[in-house]
């Protein structure tokens, strides 16, 4: 590097330092041309925006609906279970349904696997007969819950028609089917227990 170059660089640095010193003198307080407060006041007068599923687009709202329905089903069928259990002292075994759903697939055509279909139709056939053995109050409760579950399944199937690859909806639908199956088993187990006790 030549002496001339070094001198040039030093001068450039000196100038840049002067520039920084000058920059420190630039105004940091600048008044806006108009009062911005009215706009701010208006915005903060409204409640703070919360993340609301319902306020998002229709798809997400459908998600929320599906999730809420499934939760409701869970709570409702558990309640039925508790009521029914209170009437019957015999233990009820609810077998795992995990295996049944191994062959489940979604997309354009929903298939819940042959295991589910068999179990579902067998339990549905028995249900009508077994329901007759329950008290009117419990029967009404069971029917209400079943309507709720079927409504949820219907809604989720509709949603899945629009979005066949939506994983969350698929999971929710699967969960609703599981709830339905478990619920049918509870009712079925309950009536079988009644029959067993009656037989004795």
């Amino acid at each position: 590097m030549t002496e001339e170059n070094t001198t040039k660089e030093n001068m450039a640095e000196k100038n840049e330092d002067k520039l920084i010193a000058a920059a420190r003198k630039l105004s940091t307080d600048i008044s806006p041309g108009r009062d911005l407060w009215p706009g701010i006041a208006e915005a903060i007068a409204k409640p703070a925006p919360r993340r609301s599923w319902a306020r998002l687009d229709g798809r997400t709202s459908m998600f929320a609906q599906a999730a809420a329905i499934v939760l409701l089903i869970g709570a409702s069928s558990s309640l039925t279970y508790v009521i029914v259990k209170g009437q019957q002292q015999a233990p009820i075994t609810v077998p795992s349904t995990a295996m049944i759903f191994e062959q489940t697939s979604f997309a354009n055509r929903y298939s819940l696997g042959p295991g589910f279909e068999d179990a579902h139709s067998a339990l549905a056939n028995d249900l009508k007969i077994e329901l007759a053995r329950l008290s009117p109050e419990v029967r009404a409760n069971v029917e209400t819950n079943l309507k709720l579950i079927h409504g949820a399944i219907f809604e989720m199937n509709n949603a899945l028609e629009q979005e066949p690859d939506n994983i969350l909806l698929q999971k929710q639908l699967l969960r609703a089917y599981r709830e339905e199956l478990a619920f049918l088993r509870r009712v079925s187990g309950l009536t079988r227990n009644i029959m067993m006790r009656n037989d004795i």
Binding site: A22, A23, D29, I40, A43, I44
Partner: protein, 209 residues
């Protein structure tokens, strides 16, 4: 205390419905801090008049920062407004670990960066805005600094942001880097770039610092 600052403090006090502002005017710094702390507490309890007092106290610096960073009056107004709305929504998170002004400036920088990210998606709109904003914006700088101020406005975005935060507003590289979401090394490199570009621009204009 400058007339502008005095007026701002007075406006803030009047907004906060305090009657004893003469006392405040006599010893502005300590009283200002005490009042600011009180206003923050009140604003945290959803007192919008206290928040207005905070707005009156800080708006010029926040708007100045937004204007220097965006180089556009309309964008700066929107950013400043958005910053205060965000600040109101996040007030409960302010714990006093840093000065309120620093906290507010951080929000303002985020607001500017957020709008600029959005603006990339609205390129045409921004190009239209840019065409309309070739005229220098009023920053209230002394005549001898006007060239420098305009040259800062013409810097590329990254270099301009670092230069404004570091050289104009006096934030350290670490602070500027944190605000901008970049590494401190990048901040230093951008400042170096900004200095070189400014020196070139101003040399052409015969600027004497």
């Amino acid at each position: 205390m400058s007339l502008d600052t005095e007026k701002r403090h007075l406006a803030a006090l009047l907004t906060a419905e305090s009657s004893d502002y003469s006392r405040y005017m006599a010893t502005p710094v300590t009283e200002s801090l005490t009042d600011e702390a009180a206003w923050i507490k009140r604003a945290q309890c959803s007192d919008s008049s206290a928040f207005e007092a905070l707005y009156r106290l800080h708006i010029d610096k926040v708007y100045g920062l937004c204007l220097r960073m965006t180089g556009n009056v309309a964008e700066a107004e929107d950013c400043a407004q958005e910053a205060f709305i965000q600040a109101w929504n996040q007030l409960s998170k302010f714990r006093g670990d840093s000065a309120f002004s620093t906290w507010l400036h951080r929000i303002a920088v985020n607001s500017v960066l957020g709008r600029m990210r959005k603006a990339i998606r609205e390129r045409e709109r921004i190009l239209a805005v840019a065409e309309n904003t070739l005229e220098p914006v009023a920053t209230g700088d002394d005549d001898d600094l006007r060239d420098l101020s305009e040259a800062v406005g013409r810097l590329p975005e990254g270099a301009r942001h670092v230069f404004v935060l570091n050289a104009v507003y006096g934030y350290s590289h670490d602070e500027a880097a944190e605000m901008l979401g970049i590494a401190a090394g990048t901040s230093k490199a951008q400042l170096h770039r900004a200095r070189r570009l400014l020196a070139q621009q101003l040399k052409q204009q015969g600027f004497e610092a």
